[in-house]
Amino acid sequence: MSKARIGVYFCTRGNGPNPSLDYKALATYAAALPLVVEVKHLGTSPTLDPVALAKELTAKQVTTVVIAAPSPGYFKTAFTRAMALAGGDPEAIRLASFREHGGGFESPTERAKAVLACAVMDVPFGLAAVPAPSPVHPDTLVVGGGIAGIQAALEIADAGKKVYLVERTPTIGGHMAMFDKTFPTLDCAACILTPKMVAVDQHENIELMTWSEVEEVTGRPGAFKVKIRKKARYVDLDACVACNDCSAICPVSTDSEFDSSISQRKAIYIPFPQAIPNAFVVDAQHCTYLQSGGTKCGACVKKCSKDAIHFEDKDEIVEVEVGNIILATGYEVFDATRMERYGYGKLPNVITALEFERLTNASGPTGGTIVMKSKQFNKRTKQEEWVFDPDGPRPKSVAIIHCVGSRDRNYNPYCSRVCCMYSLKFAHLVKEKLQDAKCYEFYIDMRAYGKGYEEFFERIKDEGIHVVRGVSARVKEVDGQLYLRGEDILEDKVVELPVDMVLLAVGLEPDKSACDISKMLGVPRDDGGWFHESDYNTDPTGTDRGGIFVAGVCQGPKDIPDTVAQASAAAASVLKTILRKQGSESNSDLTLATIENRARQLAKN
């Protein structure tokens, strides 16, 4: 059989060529590869005419075609036809897919060259680009103590391996601890989560470090050295019995993070009664004693019968060695003040989803009674303030606006995935607690995609909730009454609806810490800021850095069941490396020469 004559054809699609790819350099590189007789750039979104292509193939006597593009599959049909017309082998079409194998690298052109070389040599990229094996330290670091971090830590610890769980806030539990109910089963979120939190605390294989942050990671896959800053808590974890005496006497109040700022906490506080570790913490920024350099207040120290408060505490740096790291840094919610038209921040009874979660939660500031904000005189600040008073007026009508900050090119173009379902859950909770209240859902598309979700949607409609297709454009206040203007698309009318309370279904955004960690560890992020998984379909927990895995919302918006599933999967990936005593180096560290050499060897055999 005569030698193949290979033609390399570059095509790009959609929004033009990837600006970070140097197509000129790629073309030069391709021309120097063995057996390549023709290199051509066919342009952006070319309309390929098989007849014309066939003529070209015949003229250049091309017997094998390599289509090189971010998504080359799109152009394959035209080349198959052209090859058949030219009398060649229609099967001799190879794809060099830059997007599939090259996403998010620092030097995408080098990676694209490697992809191209493999296609020309007819070696599957996955076989040539195999990171070298590396020995693995048996301990694991989990960053983030939400449901994802908790689940992953428990899975690994239960298998008998040591886990360091690092959490930035004073307690583990994350956002899930704030929720009232889970959808679609309407289980009590705390009833599911708190036993897991306690299990983490009591587990012999888990070393829990709350109020701590990862400061520096050095070393290599399988043998990371991690510096963790344990922030001064000023409260002895072992001595504190969470009796609340200190908090009761503390004169300083500030917004409670756990209650989404709809209630107040003291400067020495416990985020919520079931917090793990079950101990108080001092908020140094608000504490009079610490701010005054120890000259004022100090009431809590005198009050504490266990001598648990130590204002002389300093931050501590702990160094640990681990083999694998699981990132579970979670999310924060979209800042609704950015969408001025909904009046959030100005109109007291326009509130966000997390605020409503706390409002309707039995452990929240109103004991789970859904009330409107009412004006009260604050004796301390001597100002009128809008607060949720458990005896305040109940709303007679509640509107829920979907897609706030999501699916919107002015904010976040992606779907946050959880908002439709939690909004339906809210509607149910409103109807359950306030039977006579009217409840409206303003949605664009109802994304009830999971098991039991569509059924839940049907159930909500049967409960008498008005589900309106059409997103509301603005909320305004006239004489103390909120009005919401929107188009009811199915009823073909514009509605100007007076309501007592508006809930904004805010979307999810990556936690701010994700940016720092991404830089520290070299884990690339997607356009939305989410961690880039190594393969969307087949390796959703791995990353292109060896020994680093992702779990939960930090990889992309998802609900609790999906988060838990991914966390368990990440734990399994980690355990695999520990049990085999062998992990792998970073895929992204593979050089062009390494991949080329390996491909050449494989091609020979």
């Binding site: 038209r341 897609c403 699916r407 919107d408 090119r409 002015n410 904010y411 664009i444 598309d445 297709r469 059409g470 997103v471 509301s472 454009a473 603005r474 203007r485 929107g486 188009e487 009811d488 698309i489 073909d492 009318k493 514009v494």
Partner: protein, 378 residues
């Protein structure tokens, strides 16, 4: 009635300036943002739908594009960046072409080269005609009085002839607009009494653009009303007082004061609009169709040459005044012939008519409903 869907409709509207129509996912935000969107005229989302579905006839009988004044809020807040405001604008261009029975409008909107060619041909014809007439009957060094190069009486007669012809075209097109939006649809059939009762709206909206003033943003309306009043003043002066305007060289403050004010109004507002479009300083200036540029440049040119020929005459240079007068006419004639019945100027009729028709439509539908209610058994 069968409904036909035309999959090429979006592509057709794109020639008229529509953008990103297919991006729309029908959230209804644009409609809810719009202060004018009230039943039964809910827009712009529904018009986007008609367009996406290719409902040509539905779009043709749609008054809604004329009820929109393009404040741009819908486009700014569109989560899909689908530019509903610009789509409404392109629908107005498209509707202008649909109302026009000659097909000239269609030609002008589809190809700016055709429009430019039309302007040039008309300008040359006008220039040659008046030059030959002027040199045959008068003296190019004489601006007014006996033996003038372009005597005001002749120009006056010419103006009236042209006005009559152009108005006829425009009236026929208005008649077609009535047929598409009112006449042919039994739902919208109204009695003469209904038309009579609302007739006042026509004048009101023509002279005040009251609805435009109700937009949340007042700036564009202010500019537009100054431009429109300046233009109308100039039109009245020319159509009725041309001999007085052209007499001189003394300044006749009775007529000229209005003339100066109107010219200043035109030059300033048109310059502002042009500058806005260059800078893309507002949403409604962001996308400019070729016809927008041609229209504004022509208007500026005409106002400028008008005042310059006047100034030259007053400053005692009849030769320069005559040349500039000729140049002025070479701008005025193509502008009016092409723009009034066939292009952007036509909106001075279509907009007030749409306001008027929309009220009559509501009355007609209400009457039908109450009649239907009466016939129902109790």
């Amino acid at each position: 009635m069968t409904v036909q869907a035309d999959p090429r409709l979006v592509a057709e509207l794109e020639i008229y300036g529509a953008q990103d129509v297919l991006k729309c996912y029908h959230c209804g935000n644009c409609t809810a943002v719009c202060p004018f969107s009230k039943a039964p005229f809910i827009f712009p989302r529904k018009s986007m739908r008609y367009l996406q579905m290719g409902l040509r006839e539905k779009l043709k009988s749609n008054l809604e594009p004329w009820l929109c004044y393009y404040c741009g809020e819908c486009s700014e807040q569109c989560p899909r960046e689908a530019e509903p405001g610009e789509t409404m604008m392109s629908m107005r261009r498209w509707l202008t072409a649909q109302y026009d029975f000659t097909g000239i409008s269609n030609l002008l909107y589809r190809s700016w080269k055709m429009e430019l060619l039309g302007i040039i041909v008309l300008a040359i014809l006008t220039g040659l005609g008046f030059y030959m007439f002027g040199t045959a009957t008068g003296d190019i060094h004489k601006y007014d009085g006996p033996g003038a190069f372009l005597p005001s009486a002749v120009i006056h007669a010419f103006d009236w002839t042209m006005a009559t012809i152009l108005s006829t075209f425009l009236l026929i097109n208005c008649g077609r607009m009535w047929w598409f939006t009112m006449g042919r649809d039994p739902e919208h059939r109204a009695t003469p009494a209904m038309y009579a009762r609302r007739a006042g709206l026509l004048l009101l909206h023509f002279f005040t653009q009251k609805r435009y003033s109700e937009c949340d943003r007042k700036g564009p309306w202010r500019l537009h009303i100054v431009l429109m009043l300046s233009y109308v003043s100039m039109l009245v002066l020319i159509m009725f007082f041309l001999p007085m305007m052209q007499a001189g060289p003394a300044v006749n403050w009775w007529a000229h004061a209005f003339g100066y004010a109107a010219t200043a109004g035109l030059l300033i507002t048109v310059a502002m609009a042009l500058w806005g479009r260059v800078q893309k300083s507002a949403t409604h200036y962001k996308h400019s169709h070729e016809t927008d540029w041609i229209f504004l440049i022509m208007l500026f040119y005409v106002a400028l040459t008008g005042i310059l020929q006047h100034a030259c005459h007053r400053l005692g240079s009849p030769y320069a005044a005559n040349i500039l007068y000729l140049a002025h006419l070479m701008g005025v004639v193509p502008m009016l012939v092409l723009e009034v019945p066939f292009s952007k100027w036509a909106h001075m009729c279509y907009r007030p008519l749409a306001m008027y028709f929309s009220h009559v439509q509501v009355d007609a539908m209400a009457a039908k409903e109450s009649a239907a209610a009466e016939t129902l058994p109790a």
